[in-house]
Symmetry: C2
Subunit: 403 residues, 2 copies
């Protein structure tokens, strides 16, 4: 008996890597790792205000928030960072009332320069406090209308390179400027991205795991159309939100054969969502992959004290356990019970600690994973044509109201 086959993958790892190398010539985010940071740090030194308010939405805020949320309680930061990012009137009002606007630097961020939410809020801020070059800095593309506004008012501007998409812009001025101002070490952030970059492009550890994962996600996309990121730290709540935009908006596309693609991202936080979502993962339909993210070292000695509670002696086995150990054991218990089932694809990323290079490495890895998945799926990760029609309809509705 003889046997032959032609069951080769439709696209080899090597082909995908070649495509990524080609793309690296004109997609800018790959190369942000080696940019100079002096301009950001010099500007940061000049900032006198205590509050930093970022006015922006989507890619202009999610990445910055992810890093700030991850680090803010573990470092001695000198300033408070806030985000005005929705048109909900109650939300805007309650946030603005809680901030001393006279001791605030406003960072207005819009890649296109004409984002409706951002300009609406910025106009509203004008009615509350005098806006001028001393309390406002602009981050936008060099030829946008918002840049014209900045020039007309003599305001300091920082550019977003044309070839860096909004949801891939966290390591450009978009993220680095506000983070530098509040006291986060932006060089350490870039160091974190560089390690992943070098490991990937030298075909080392990150090359292997990213290619393997992207291939699995793509080849099984019709069985497992949902990708759950299960983060075992409240510090990663912002990361989850950033991941959802990155994944959803990059991979929800029509491919070159006019077939709809799209892996659906879900971000949940253990242990809270053990009490919310785990049941669905364990007993529900097998349509989900699970990526568990753990933090190895919380740099915390918070402990469950050895205190006897009459009637609750059954739980005395908790005494003297550190909370950091408890949360990591909760993660391990979840991983074990998922792996015991053997039909739920699951991987585990353990980040070393709560510091800059750790979160930056995690984020850069997810950016690379997104780009590689897009290559396997024959789609463009960097556009978002699906949201344009809604923008046009909105503009028509608003112009109608004002006529």
């Amino acid at each position: 008996m003889k046997y032959h086959h032609n069951f080769n993958p439709t696209i080899s790892d090597e082909d995908v890597f070649e495509e990524i190398l080609k793309e690296k010539e004109y997609i800018g985010y790959y190369n942000l790792i080696s940019q100079g940071t002096t301009a950001f740090k010099e500007y940061a030194k000049t900032v006198k205000q205590k509050n930093i308010v970022v006015i922006g939405i989507g890619g202009s805020t999610l990445g910055t928030y992810a890093i700030y949320k991850f680090l803010k309680h573990s470092k001695t930061l000198t300033k408070q960072l806030y985000f005005l990012e929705t048109t909900d009137p109650i939300d805007i009002k309650s946030k603005v009332e809680a901030i001393d606007l006279n001791d605030t630097l406003f960072i207005v961020i819009s890649k296109s320069g004409t984002t409706v939410e951002t300009v609406s809020i910025f106009k509203y801020i004008h009615s509350l406090v005098k806006i001028n070059k001393d309390n406002t800095v602009i981050i936008t593309e060099h030829d946008s209308k918002l840049n014209n506004y900045a020039k007309a008012n003599g305001m300091k501007t920082f550019g977003i390179p044309k070839d860096v998409g909004g949801r891939f812009s966290v390591f450009s001025a978009v993220g680095l400027l506000p983070l530098a101002i509040v006291g986060i070490d932006i060089d350490a952030l870039l160091d974190g991205t560089k390690k992943v970059h070098d490991s990937f492009f030298a075909k080392e550890e990150h090359y292997n795991r990213i290619l393997k994962k992207a291939r699995f996600f793509t080849e099984y996309k019709n069985s497992f159309n949902i990708n759950v990121v299960f983060s075992y730290s409240s510090r990663l709540e912002g990361f989850n939100k950033w991941y959802i935009q990155l994944w959803g908006e990059s991979l929800g596309k029509v491919d070159i054969n006019s077939t709809r693609q799209g892996l659906t991202p879900i971000g949940i936080i253990g242990p809270i969502d053990q009490h919310s979502f785990l049941q669905l993962i364990v007993e529900g339909k097998r349509d989900k992959t699970v990526t568990v993210i753990k933090v190895d070292d919380f740099d915390s000695d918070l402990i469950i004290p050895n205190i006897k509670l009459e009637g609750l002696e059954e739980l005395d086995y908790l005494d003297n356990i550190e909370f950091s150990s408890l949360i990591n054991k909760q993660a391990d218990a979840t991983i074990t019970s998922i792996n015991n089932l053997s039909d739920i694809p699951c991987d585990v990323i353990t980040i070393d600690g709560v510091y800059e290079s750790a979160i930056a490495a995690l984020m850069y890895e997810f950016e690379l994973l997104t780009s590689v998945c897009a290559k396997f799926m024959y789609i463009n990760a960097y556009d978002q044509p699906g949201v344009e029609s809604g923008k046009i309809i909105l503009k028509e509705k608003l112009q109608m109201e004002n006529n």
Copy 2:
């Protein structure tokens, strides 16, 4: 030519309704609408502390947080409500440091009475402040270990009925007590649930829409395995989280034929997630239904002022538009662009305003929808067997550490 068919639905609306009527005899949440509230209101009057800290997780906090988050900026509430609900050490520490624990009432909530997270945090609180009957109240089942603890320490307790599941318990003492204490009108909450209850059980509006929607979701569950709730107000962020638990943990089950069921809930917030998730809905795989939730009246006159920004004149059409109008037009633009595609199932719920009966009616409607879906899917909505194995593994890991 003659034609016959036997294409009847596997289960009729009438059969499902009969099942719900039977279930109403022994599933307690249906009947919380007509409970007395005097005990909660009387206790609330006696509370002197300024801060109210709920220690609980999952069903013990998510519903309360949903209502509090919805209402807190639109009412003059007399007290601040906080939630300690995770074992993340950095999260616990930063929250506790921000609260004056000597001016705090602790509400410890655990249905089973032995929830690991809740007891761990409660023990930790013991090491920071003297805990006694003057600053602590307990909400649990009448025969739990936590209830024994309360009795041993002479603490006031409120019961959770045995037949009310955790994720269906928001309108029991679990939600009503803390909400009454901070100044929310709990009778108005129950009024909201009662309207929906009566409309459903009298086979009026809510009967028709809930049955129709549950049938659609169930019959198309293999095409559309993801249900997106797209809430156009940041006030509904807590509602989204509550919905995710309710839907995921109730419907992620093995049915009577041993087949895995499970509709996956996603909660997103417009307009922020227009910049994050909308692209995936519009161009991605057709595996999602979308329920848009709008707020008709934000009771806000916040306006985009008529201020000219040199260079940005293109956006002057925004001038003089109220933010509440802008956000609702953004919702309408999203709805129109989804409906234009005609292959994405979409429904729209508009809640009247930012007040008690509106949010309570919305939540009760989703509880009924969950129960009805479970009937169509031949599963038990009220248990959660899938999370038990993880709890056992965790206990073993922790006991190993302490031996």
